[in-house]
C-alpha cells in the first residue's frame, strides 16, 4: 500500500499550518516541563551570563573615563581586576548555559526517539501497511533534530531576550536619547536575521530535495549500469545528471544570493549603530550630557549584542518549522494501536492447535472488503493449504490467526478459545509465521534463529536448523552459526534465507505454523531444497500454508479453496481436483502448478 494515505497525513504537509503550530508548541511545552530542572539550571546560567554582559561595557567605560580625566592611574587596577572577575563569571555562565542546554536537548531527543521506537513496535500491521518506512524514519531523525535544535536554543533565547531588555534599559538610563538611537539596532538586526534564516531554510530544503534528485539519478545509473551499457545510453544518463546538477546549481545560487544580500548587513547594521553613537553620542559628549566613558561603553554594547541578535532571529525564523515537526512527532505518539491486550487475558487452553474461523469478515480501513464470511475448521495437528487466485484473501486469513489484524466481524478460536481473549504474547508464542519476504536482522545466524525463542539453547538452535535443512549450509559458512547476516552482513541465497527463517519459526516448537507464500520468490531448484525441510517442520503440527505449486500442495492434508472472500471448498488436494472444476482451473492458471 502506498505511503500517501497514512494516518499521519494531517501533519505531514511540508508547510506548517496554524493548528499544527499550536499543537507543536504544546508538545514542545510538555517536553520542556518534563525536563524542567535541567532547563532551570541552564536558564540560571544564562542569567549569570546576561548579568556579566550588561556589566562589562560599564567597567570599560569607567576605565576610559579615568583615562580621559587623566588619572589617577592607580584607580584603574581595581577596575581591571573587576573586569577579569566579571569575565570569569561570564565564562561560568556560558558554560552552565551551554552544558545544560545541550543536556536538556540531547536527553529529550534520546528519550523521544526511544518512545517513537517503542511506539512503532507496538503499532499494528494496518498502521505499517499505510505508513512508509521513510515517513517513520523522518519522524525519528529530521523532525526530531528540528525539535532538539529548538530545545537547545530555548534557554539562550530566553536569556538573550532578557539581555536585550536589560541592555536597552541600561542604555536609556545612561542617556535616553542616545540609548533610544542605539537600541534601534535591536529590531533592525532581529528582523534581518529572521528574514535571512527563513529564506535560507526555504532554499536549503529545496537544495536537499534536488540533491536527493541527483542521488537518485546516480543510484539508478549505478544499479542499472548493465541496461545503460547494453543500450549504449551513457549520454542519456549524463544528460539526466547534468539537468539535476543545474537544478542544484540554481538552488545553491538562490541561497548564495540571499546570503550575499543579508550577511553583509550583520556587519553594516552594527556599524551604522556605531555611526549613530559617534554622531549623536559625540555631540552629547561635547555638550557635557554624557561622559566619554559612556560613549565608549555604548560602542561596546553594540558589539556584544550582534551575535545574540543573529541567533535570536534565527530561533524565531525556525520556530514554525520546528513546531510543525514537533506536531508530527506528537501525532505519531498519540496514535493508539488498535490491536491491544485483552483487559483480562484468559489462560492458554490445552490442545493440538485446532483453529476455527466462524463467520469471519474482514475489510481494510479504506473499506475494501476482503473476507465475506469465512467458516473454516483446521483440525489440530493437520496441515491445510490455502489456494485461491491473487487477491482472494489467502494472506489475510493467515494473518488473522496471530492477530496481525482483527476481523471486522465474526471470530477465530484456537483450541476453542477466542484468540482475542488470549494475551498477545501467549497467542503469538503458539503461532509462528514464516513470511513471504524473509527478513533477517543484522545479527548472527544463531541470534536470528533465536528471535523465535530468546531462551533457546545452542543445541535447540541447531536442532531447529537441522529440522529446517539449514544446518549443513550454515556449517559451511566461514563463521558457522556466528556468521553475521542481514543488511550489513553476509549475503545468503533466497533459499538459504528462507530456511533460516523456517528454523526461526520452529525453534520455539509452536502449536501452529503459518507459511505465508514462503516459497514464491525462489526458483524450482531452490524450492526443491526447501521441500524436504517443509515436510519435516510440518509433521504433526497444525500448519497453514499458502502455495501455488502442486509440489507444495502434495504435502498438506487438506486444501481450503478460497474465492470471493469465502472458503468454497475444503478437502484433500486430489479430491478437490476431481470434485471442484473451478479449483483445477485456478491451479491451471499457475504455470508451475499446471505443467504436469
Amino acid at each position: 500500500m502506498d505511503a500517501g494515505g497514512g494516518r499521519l497525513d494531517r501533519v505531514s504537509a511540508d508547510r506548517p499550518r496554524l493548528t499544527d503550530l499550536g499543537d507543536g508548541l504544546a508538545f514542545l511545552w510538555r517536553v520542556l516541563r518534563r525536563y524542567r530542572s535541567i532547563a532551570v539550571v541552564s536558564i540560571l546560567g544564562a542569567l549569570l551570563w546576561m548579568a556579566a554582559v550588561v556589566t562589562i561595557p560599564r567597567i570599560i567605560g569607567a576605565i576610559v573615563d579615568i583615562a580621559v580625566e587623566g588619572g589617577p592611574a592607580d584607580d584603574i587596577w581595581p577596575l581591571l581586576l573587576l573586569l577579569a572577575g566579571v569575565g570569569a563569571v561570564q565564562a561560568g555562565g556560558i558554560s552552565i548555559r551551554r552544558y545544560f542546554g545541550f543536556k536538556l536537548s540531547y536527553r529529550a531527543e534520546a528519550d523521544i526517539r526511544n518512545r517513537i521506537f517503542t511506539h512503532i513496535q507496538r503499532m499494528e500491521f494496518n498502521f505499517h501497511d499505510m505508513t512508509s518506512t521513510g515517513e517513520l524514519m523522518a519522524r525519528a531523525s529530521s523532525d526530531l533534530s528540528q525539535l532538539r535544535l529548538i530545545l537547545a536554543m530555548l534557554p539562550i533565547t530566553l536569556a538573550n531576550l532578557g539581555m536585550f531588555l536589560a541592555v536597552t534599559t541600561v542604555l536609556i538610563i545612561i542617556d535616553p536619547v542616545l540609548g533610544g538611537v542605539a537600541a534601534l539596532m535591536i529590531p533592525a538586526l532581529l528582523f534581518t536575521s529572521a528574514r535571512f534564516a527563513s529564506r535560507v531554510v526555504g532554499y536549503s530544503f529545496d537544495l536537499q530535495a534536488r540533491l536527493s534528485g541527483l542521488s537518485h539519478v546516480v543510484e539508478e545509473s549505478v544499479t542499472g549500469i548493465e541496461v545503460v551499457k547494453s543500450y549504449g545510453q551513457e549520454a542519456q544518463q549524463q544528460k539526466k545528471l547534468e539537468r539535476s546538477a543545474v537544478d542544484i546549481y540554481k538552488a545553491a545560487m538562490g541561497m548564495a544570493k540571499e546570503r550575499a544580500i543579508h550577511r553583509p548587513l550583520f556587519e553594516t547594521i552594527p556599524a551604522f549603530g556605531t555611526v549613530a553613537v559617534l554622531a549623536v553620542g559625540g555631540i552629547r559628549v561635547v555638550d557635557g550630557l554624557i561622559s566619554f566613558g559612556d560613549f565608549v561603553s555604548f560602542t561596546q554594547y553594540l558589539a556584544v549584542m550582534v551575535l545574540p541578535l543573529m541567533i535570536t532571529g534565527w530561533f524565531f525564523a525556525n520556530l514554525p518549522r520546528s513546531a510543525a515537526a514537533s506536531a508530527r512527532i506528537g501525532a505519531l505518539l498519540e496514535t493508539a494501536p488498535d490491536i491491544v491486550e485483552p483487559r483480562r487475558p484468559g489462560p492458554l487452553p490445552d490442545g493440538r492447535g485446532e483453529i476455527k474461523f466462524e463467520g469471519v469478515h474482514f475489510s481494510y480501513p479504506d473499506g475494501t472488503e476482503v473476507l465475506r464470511g469465512v467458516d473454516l475448521t483446521i483440525p489440530g495437528g493437520t496441515a491445510v493449504g490455502l489456494v485461491g487466485a491473487t487477491g482472494a484473501g489467502k494472506s489475510t486469513i493467515a494473518h488473522l490467526i496471530p492477530r496481525f489484524y482483527d476481523p471486522t466481524d465474526g471470530r477465530i478460536t484456537l483450541d476453542g478459545v477466542d484468540i482475542r481473549d488470549l494475551s498477545l504474547d501467549d497467542l503469538r508464542n503458539e503461532v509462528s509465521v514464516v513470511f513471504q519476504e524473509t527478513f533477517l536482522f543484522s545479527a548472527s545466524i544463531a541470534d536470528n534463529i533465536r528471535v523465535g525463542d530468546r531462551l533457546a539453547s545452542d543445541s535447540q538452535v541447531r536442532s531447529a536448523a537441522r529440522l529446517a535443512k539449514a544446518h549443513e549450509f550454515i556449517c559451511d559458512l566461514s563463521d558457522g552459526y556466528d556468521t553475521v547476516v542481514g543488511e550489513r552482513g553476509a549475503t545468503l541465497s533466497g533459499g538459504q534465507r528462507q530456511r533460516v527463517s523456517l528454523a526461526r519459526g520452529v525453534v520455539r516448537d509452536p502449536r501452529v505454523l503459518i507459511l505465508d507464500d514462503a516459497t514464491s520468490s525462489v526458483d524450482a531448484v531452490v524450492e526443491s531444497e526447501i521441500q524436504e525441510a517443509l515436510r519435516q517442520v510440518m509433521a504433526g503440527r497444525t500448519t497453514v500454508i499458502i502455495a501455488h505449486r502442486t509440489s507444495t500442495l502434495a504435502l498438506v492434508d487438506n486444501v481450503a479453496f478460497i474465492e470471493g472472500g469465502r472458503v468454497i471448498a475444503f478437502g484433500p488436494h486430489l479430491e478437490l481436483l476431481e470434485r471442484v472444476p473451478r479449483y483445477a482451473e485456478v491451479l491451471a492458471a499457475t504455470p508451475n502448478g499446471a505443467d504436469a
Binding site: 579615568i66 556560558i94 539508478e220 549500469i225 549524463q238 530468546r454
Partner: protein
C-alpha cells in the same frame, strides 16, 4: 542510505598537489576566481577604514569640541559603509558563483568518467560507495563551496587585515593582544582534537541508531510475530543511549571551549585597556586611538574561531576531492581500440564464443575454455547451477568484459574490433528484474531510441499484446514509473523491459530470466510478449525454469566453467545425466 559511510580505500594526496589538480578541472574559472579574491580584498580594506574614521571623529571632533568634525566623520563613515555593503555582497556572491560553477563542472566530469568505466569496475565497487562519491563526497565539497569558501576568504582577510590594523594603530597593545591570541590558538587546537573525536563518534553512532531504527521498522512484522518488541526496544535503547553519550562528550568539549574564548576576549580587552589607559593618561596616545583599537578588537576573535571551523570543512573537502580523483584516475579498460570498425549491416546475429577463458579475480577461473556457436535466429538456453558461469557468458557476449584469452564474435567479427555504437545497436540485454528507470513509461520504452514516436511505441505494444494493459493505466504512457518501478509488479516491469528491447530492435537478445513466480495472468502475458520479441532474433536465455529450456532450439549446460552438454532439450534428457538430474529437480512434485 544517507548515513552510509563513504570511507573507501584511497591514499590522500598532499593538499598542495590536490588543489593544483582540482584547479585543472576547470581552467575557465581562473579569472573569475582572481577577480573574486580582488573584490574580497577591496571589501575588507573598506571595512577596516571604519574605526580610523571613528578615531578621527573622536580626536578632532569630540576631544576638540568640534561638532562639525564629528558630523563630517559620521557622514564619511556612512559613505564607506554603503560602499562596504555592496563590495562585501558582491564578493560573497562571486565566491559562491565560482564555487557552484566549479561543482557543476565537477559533477558532470566525475559522472562522465564513472559511466565510461567498464563493468569490471562496477563489479569491484560496492554500488553504495560509488553513489556516495557522487553524493556525500561532492556534497561535502558543496558545503565548502556554499559556506566554507566565503567564510574562509572573508575571515582570513579580516584576521590579516585586523592584525595589520592593530599593529598600525598601536604596536604595544597589539603585542599584548597577540600573546592572548596565541593562547587562544593553543586552546583551540586542544578543543578541535577533542571535538573531532567526539563528532566522529557522534557520526558513527547516529549511523547505528538510524540503521537499528530502520531495521526495527522494516522488520516490524517479524518482531511482532515473534513477540520481540521488548528485546528490540531494549536493544534500540542501548544504541540510542550510546548516541546520547557521544553527544554529551561533544557538549562537554563545547561547554569549556566557548567560555574560555569569551574569557580570553575580556582579558584581551582588559590588557589593551591597561596599556592604553596608561598611555592616554601619559598623553602618549589619543583616546580616539584607544577606541579604534577596541573596535578592531571586536572583529578579531570571532573570525579566528570561524577560521578554525572552516579548517575542518576544508579538510573534509580535500579528503572528498582525493576520493573523487580515484574515480577520475581510474582507466577505462573497455573502449574502442584504434582502427575499430562498424559491424557490417545488416546484422545477421551469429554468435561465436571461441576458446574463452575468463576470470573476475586472478586465479579463480570462471570460464575455462568455453566454445559455443549460436546460429543467426537461433534460441539458445544456457542452464547450470548458481555460480557455474552461465551468466558470465551473457556478460561476455555483451562485452561487459573482455575474455583473458579466446574471443567472442558476432557475424564473424571479434567484438573487441568493433565500435561500441555499432555493437550496442546490435544487442540488447534484459536483466532479471527488468530494471526500469525513473520517469514515465514512455521514457522507459523509448530508452534506446528517445526519438521514437508514440505511434512506434503503440505499434510495438500491440504487436506484443500489452497495449490494452498500458491503455488501462489511468495515465497511459505518461504513467510515472517511480523509483525502480515500485509501482509495477515484477512481471509488469519485465513486460516493459521486453517492449523496451523490442523498440531497440536488435539482432541479438540476451535475457537473464527472472527466478520469482509471477501471478498467473502476468506470466501468460510475459510468455507471449517474449515469444513475439524473440521471433526472428538470435537469443541467449539464461534459463531458470523448465519451460524456457523446452522452448529453446538448443540447450547448453555449464558446470564449473565448462560446457558439459550441448544439444536440444530432448537429446540432453536422453544423453546427459547431469541435465536429466536438473530437469528432475525442476519437475519434482509437479506430477
Amino acid at each position: 542510505m544517507k548515513y552510509m559511510s563513504s570511507a573507501g580505500d584511497h591514499k590522500v594526496e598532499k593538499p598542495g598537489r590536490l588543489l593544483a589538480r582540482a584547479a585543472r578541472v576547470s581552467s575557465n574559472l581562473k579569472w573569475p576566481f582572481v577577480g573574486t579574491i580582488a573584490l574580497a580584498i577591496v571589501a575588507t580594506v573598506i571595512r577596516l577604514i571604519g574605526p580610523l574614521i571613528v578615531r578621527g571623529g573622536i580626536d578632532s571632533g569630540i576631544a576638540e569640541g568640534d561638532k562639525r568634525a564629528i558630523l563630517a566623520a559620521a557622514g564619511l563613515y556612512v559613505g564607506t559603509l554603503i560602499l562596504q555593503y555592496f563590495a562585501t555582497a558582491a564578493s560573497q556572491f562571486s565566491v559562491a558563483w565560482v564555487g557552484e560553477q566549479y561543482l557543476l563542472q565537477l559533477r558532470g566530469l566525475v559522472f562522465r568518467r564513472m559511466l565510461a568505466l567498464d563493468m569490471g569496475f562496477f563489479g569491484r565497487s560496492k554500488s553504495g560507495v560509488l553513489v556516495s562519491r557522487m553524493t556525500a563526497d561532492i556534497e561535502s565539497l558543496q558545503e565548502f563551496a556554499s559556506d566554507g569558501a566565503v567564510m574562509a576568504l572573508s575571515n582570513l582577510l579580516t584576521v590579516i587585515g585586523v592584525s595589520i590594523a592593530l599593529v598600525f594603530v598601536d604596536w604595544q597593545m597589539a603585542v599584548a593582544v597577540f600573546a592572548i591570541v596565541s593562547v587562544l590558538l593553543g586552546v583551540t587546537r586542544v578543543f578541535q582534537r577533542q571535538a573531532r573525536k567526539a563528532y566522529d563518534m557522534v557520526r558513527e553512532r547516529i549511523g547505528r541508531v538510524l540503521a537499528t531504527l530502520q531495521e526495527g521498522i522494516t522488520g516490524v512484522r517479524v518482531v511482532q510475530a515473534f513477540t520481540e518488541e521488548g528485546n528490540q526496544a531494549s536493544n534500540f535503547g542501548r544504541v540510542n543511549e550510546g548516541h546520547f553519550e557521544a553527544n554529551m562528550a561533544a557538549a562537554r568539549a563545547i561547554s569549556w571551549y566557548f567560555p574560555v574564548v569569551a574569557f580570553l576576549r575580556v582579558i584581551a580587552i582588559g590588557s589593551a585597556l591597561a596599556i592604553g589607559a596608561m598611555r592616554v593618561i601619559d598623553g602618549t596616545m589619543s583616546i580616539g586611538t584607544l577606541v579604534a583599537f577596541l573596535l578592531y578588537l571586536d572583529w578579531f576573535f570571532q573570525p579566528i574561531i570561524n577560521l578554525s571551523n572552516v579548517y575542518n570543512l576544508l579538510q573534509s573537502a580535500l579528503a572528498a576531492l582525493s576520493k573523487l580523483f580515484t574515480i577520475i584516475d581510474e582507466p577505462a579498460v573497455i573502449k574502442d581500440r584504434e582502427g575499430a570498425y562498424d559491424l557490417p549491416e545488416p546484422v545477421r546475429g551469429e554468435i561465436d564464443v571461441d576458446h574463452v577463458r575468463f576470470s573476475y579475480l586472478p586465479d579463480t577461473l570462471v570460464l575455462d575454455d568455453v566454445s559455443l556457436h549460436v546460429d543467426a535466429g537461433e534460441r539458445l538456453a544456457v542452464v547450470g547451477e548458481t555460480g557455474s558461469g552461465k551468466s558470465t557468458i551473457a556478460k561476455l557476449v555483451m562485452r561487459f568484459y573482455d575474455p583473458q584469452s579466446g574471443s567472442v564474435s558476432i557475424d564473424g567479427k571479434n567484438l573487441s574490433d568493433l565500435t561500441k555504437d555499432s555493437r550496442v545497436g546490435a544487442m540488447a540485454l534484459i536483466p532479471q528484474d527488468g530494471f526500469l528507470f525513473s520517469g514515465t513509461l514512455r521514457d522507459n520504452l523509448t530508452y534506446a531510441d528517445p526519438d521514437a514516436t508514440d505511434d512506434d511505441v503503440w505499434r510495438v505494444l500491440s504487436t506484443m499484446g500489452i497495449d490494452d494493459w498500458i491503455r488501462s493505466l489511468p495515465d497511459g504512457l505518461d504513467t510515472e514509473v517511480r523509483e525502480r518501478g515500485s509501482r509495477f509488479s515484477s512481471g509488469e516491469q519485465q513486460l516493459v523491459a521486453l517492449a523496451r528491447a523490442f523498440l531497440a530492435d536488435p539482432a541479438i537478445i540476451v535475457l537473464d530470466e527472472a527466478t520469482s513466480n509471477l501471478d498467473p495472468e502476468t506470466e501468460v502475458r510475459v510468455e507471449k510478449a517474449l515469444s513475439v520479441l524473440l521471433e526472428g532474433r538470435t537469443s541467449v536465455v539464461i534459463a531458470h525454469r523448465l519451460r524456457s529450456a523446452e522452448r529453446a532450439d538448443r540447450v547448453v549446460m555449464i558446470d564449473a566453467g565448462k560446457v558439459i552438454a550441448n544439444g536440444t532439450h530432448d537429446e540432453l534428457v536422453a544423453t546427459s545425466p547431469n541435465y536429466k538430474e536438473l530437469v528432475d529437480v525442476w519437475t519434482i512434485g509437479l506430477a
